[in-house]
């Protein structure tokens, strides 16, 4: 595939702001999305093992419903966080995105249904397990399988989108056009690495879980100890597996000695030591976030290099500056999103730490953040209507 074709596939309207900003937003939001994919996979997977222990073991009796709940919420969050990287990909890599979606069109439909069916089954699992201890094993395993399958499909779209040299051959093998939409490509090592990360993520989650609940008098010391050491075990084993699969992946594509790749290796080793010691898992989580951003950056580097070799650089994308809308987005994202989500999370944190009913009206932080959120939203609406009416008056009168 030569550059002229790739350039012809770009949106002729250009991009509304400097492409590097979209690239950075892509890396950031993909890392956030991936974090919840991994937490969902990890907690779901562990909860299925837990269903076999839940009946007889008093610790798992408490832990397992929490794991199932974590998986349930994570799936929702991963879906909503997945929308953002998808948008930013469409802005700067639209040829890749639309070609992959056309070539694998059938899989795109199947993906959506798989996600719906898998998630509904997960709720079934959740209610079955709520009803009887250790219940819902079979439906839990099935929903896990369906959701993993959806993940594999998403992997297919990502892999197909970075194979521009093979597109024509996938679209018209031997000159015969294939409109079936059944194109399917996998990169097993890459997939294995990405999925393996679910293990350390759930390990570190368990360390956090234990630390968070350690201040609650209604959770026994034994429970806190057990969940922490389980987290350490899972985290250490998981990090070793991830490190090996990462090295193999980098070897396969010849990136092992790239500074970014080396930085990830160092990050994983630091994580391994921190998880092993489990001094303060919140700091470990901070390091995990950095490593996740580096991994997201690695993915982008691979794609960027593939495209650059073909003469397609996102930095050359024609820019049609759109100052008003980019300002609207950045302000909404940082101010409204920042304050609003901070409010929700502060509340969640405090409710979780508290036994019984939490009185938010007496809490300064919760009250202030809540008032700010509401005020910002009202101001946002006023600006929206003011802006819209001004434009309409100018264009129609």
């Amino acid at each position: 595939m030569d550059a002229s074709v790739l350039l012809a596939l770009r949106d002729p309207a250009g991009v509304p702001f400097y492409p590097v900003v979209f690239q950075a937003l892509y890396i950031l939001t993909w890392a956030l999305h991936a974090a919840f994919v991994l937490l969902a996979l990890g907690s779901m997977g562990l909860s299925i093992i837990g269903t076999f222990k839940q009946k007889d073991d008093p610790i798992w009796r408490v832990l397992n419903p929490h794991l199932i709940q974590t998986g349930k919420i994570s799936i929702s969050i991963l879906i909503v966080l997945g929308v953002a990287p998808l948008l930013f990909t469409q802005v700067i890599y639209d040829p890749n995105w639309y070609v992959a979606n056309t070539l694998s069109g059938m899989w795109v439909f199947i993906f959506i249904y798989a996600l719906i069916v898998g998630y509904i089954m997960y709720y079934w699992y959740y209610y079955a397990n709520k009803k009887t201890e250790g219940g819902g094993k079979l439906v839990g395993i099935l929903s896990f399988a369906v959701l993993v399958f959806a993940g594999i499909l998403m992997h297919n779209f990502a892999v197909t989108s970075i194979m521009p040299n093979d597109w024509m051959n996938m679209y018209a093998p031997n000159g015969v056009v294939d409109n079936s939409g059944w194109t399917f490509n996998m990169d097993l090592i890459r997939l294995a690495f990405m999925v393996s990360l679910a293990i350390p993520v759930v390990g570190i989650f368990l360390q956090n879980y234990s630390k968070f609940l350690s201040t609650r008098p209604d959770f026994s010391e034994e429970f806190i100890q057990y969940t922490a050491s389980l987290g350490t075990k899972i985290g250490v084993i998981g990090l070793i597996i991830s490190a090996i699969t990462f090295a193999l992946w980098m070897l396969q594509i010849n990136y092992l000695l790239h500074p970014l790749s080396l930085a990830i290796v160092v990050g994983v080793v630091i994580l391994l030591l921190m998880v092993l010691q489990n001094k303060n898992s919140y700091i470990t989580t901070g390091v995990l976030v950095i490593v996740a951003l580096l991994i997201s950056g690695m993915r982008e580097l691979i794609r960027f290099d593939i495209m650059a070799k073909l003469g397609y650089s996102i930095y050359d994308y024609p820019v049609n500056l759109e100052i008003p809308t980019i300002t609207m987005f950045l302000l909404t994202f940082l101010v409204l999103g920042g304050v609003g989500v901070a409010w929700l999370l502060t509340m969640a944190w405090k409710v979780g730490k508290n036994q019984g009913v939490f009185d938010g009206s007496k809490d300064v932080a919760v009250t202030k953040l809540g008032n700010y959120t509401l005020a910002i939203m009202v101001v946002w609406m006023v600006i929206y209507f003011g802006w819209g009416m001004t434009i309409l008056f100018m264009n129609t009168l």
Binding site: V5, A8, L9, P12, A13, G14, P16, S76, I77, I79, V80, V83, A84, L87, F88, M168, Y171, A172, G175, V177, N179, P318, N320, E322, P324, T325, I326, M328, F329, T332, F333, L336, G337, G340, V341, L344, M347, A348, V351, V357, F358, D359, G360, S361, K362, V366, G370, N371, T373, L374, M377, V378, M381, Y384, W387, G388, I391, L392, N395, T396
Partner: protein
């Protein structure tokens, strides 16, 4: 950037709905109520953003966008606000319709409260329904000509079904106000399905079809071909170059062996051309379900099909793309369609 901004509200809503549901008896009422208000505003925020985008997809509303290329001119067209308030009215009505399920379910435990709430839901729904109808009429007046051309095909049916729906739901809401005890939970549940299937589904379908032949902004056809210049964005119409060189030469995804039509590859090239230009809207198979070509071209010979294509190229049908192709491509398409023996 509209979609990205909408995403921020979307994130707030998804986290917010978990907090709302799970903390209902874990947090004080005042904070919970504040949360509920913020959730409501965020939901309207989502609506405010999506509506600008889908209104633009229908049409920018004024000529300003084509000259400036500015997203504000695209977003706030004449169609945007009537469309927005049509949906806000519908939203109010729907909250009443769903509220009736909840209020009727309380009948046994708390008959007094159930009565009061059912009555209130009746008023709320009636108000929402009125706003929906009022803004629907205004909305229709802000649509472009091609939308009316599509609408006219099914106008009688659409209006008839809307009148029936209005009568049925007005009666339902009046019963809720006058005889709240008559509203039972199963009835209220059924009414939700009625509104989903007879209200939302055909409404959205109508909006999507009325946009034809465009997919966005009245400059991109459903088959992704750009049909007019947008000076403000430096976008050029692709129609002149396609008319001159043909789709097979211009489209980057044409296999080498089909780029030039010969006697040997004519059918194959015709098949690809038909798929590229028609199949976005029409099923080509004889068993196809979506606006199948067979219903439109049944029994036509090659010349008749060709003259239909010529007419299309000259813009004879306002709801179809004005796609002019070189003679040999028309010929290949007609030959392929004839070979399907509709």
């Amino acid at each position: 950037m509209g979609w990205a901004t909408e995403w921020v509200f979307f994130v707030y809503e998804v986290i917010g709905v978990f907090v709302l549901v799970y903390f209902i008896d874990k947090i004080d009422k005042k904070t919970h109520l504040k949360l509920t208000f913020s959730f409501a505003i965020a939901s309207v925020g989502t609506l405010a953003l999506i509506i600008g985008i889908i209104s633009f997809m229908m049409w920018p509303g004024t000529e300003a966008y084509y000259a400036t290329g500015s997203a504000s001119d695209a977003f706030f067209g004449t169609n945007t606000f009537p469309h927005m308030f049509l949906r806000i009215g519908f939203m109010i009505m729907l909250s009443g319709v769903i509220g009736l399920v909840i209020s009727s379910a309380m009948k046994k435990e708390n008959p007094e409260l159930s009565r009061e709430l059912t009555k209130k839901m009746g008023y709320v729904s009636l108000l929402g329904g009125f706003l929906t109808l009022f803004f629907f009429m205004w909305y229709m007046g802000t649509l472009p000509d091609n939308a009316h051309a599509v609408f006219n095909v099914t106008k009688a049916d659409v209006i008839q079904s809307r009148i029936i729906l209005t009568i049925v739901f007005s009666l339902y809401f009046l019963i809720a106000i006058v005889k709240p005890q008559f509203i039972s939970t199963p009835l209220a549940g059924i009414m939700i399905f009625v509104i989903l299937i007879a209200g939302i589904w055909p409404g959205e379908k109508l909006r999507e079809s009325m946009r034809k032949p465009y997919v966005a902004g009245q400059y991109i056809y459903s088959n992704q071909i750009i049909s007019r210049d947008v000076e403000g964005k430096g976008i050029k119409s692709e129609l002149p170059i396609i008319a001159e060189k043909g789709l097979l030469q211009v489209n980057p995804f044409v296999p080498e062996n089909l780029k030039v039509i010969t006697e040997a590859n004519k059918l194959e090239a015709g098949k690809l051309l038909t798929r590229m230009s028609c199949s976005n809207c029409h099923s080509l198979e004889a068993t196809g379900k979506y606006r199948p070509l067979k219903d439109r071209l049944k029994g036509m010979d090659k010349e008749a099909i060709k003259s239909t294509l010529y007419a299309m190229g000259d813009g004879a049908f306002p709801y179809m793309p004005k796609l002019k192709l070189p003679e040999e491509e028309y010929d290949a398409i007609a030959e392929y369609i004839v070979s399907l023996k509709y």
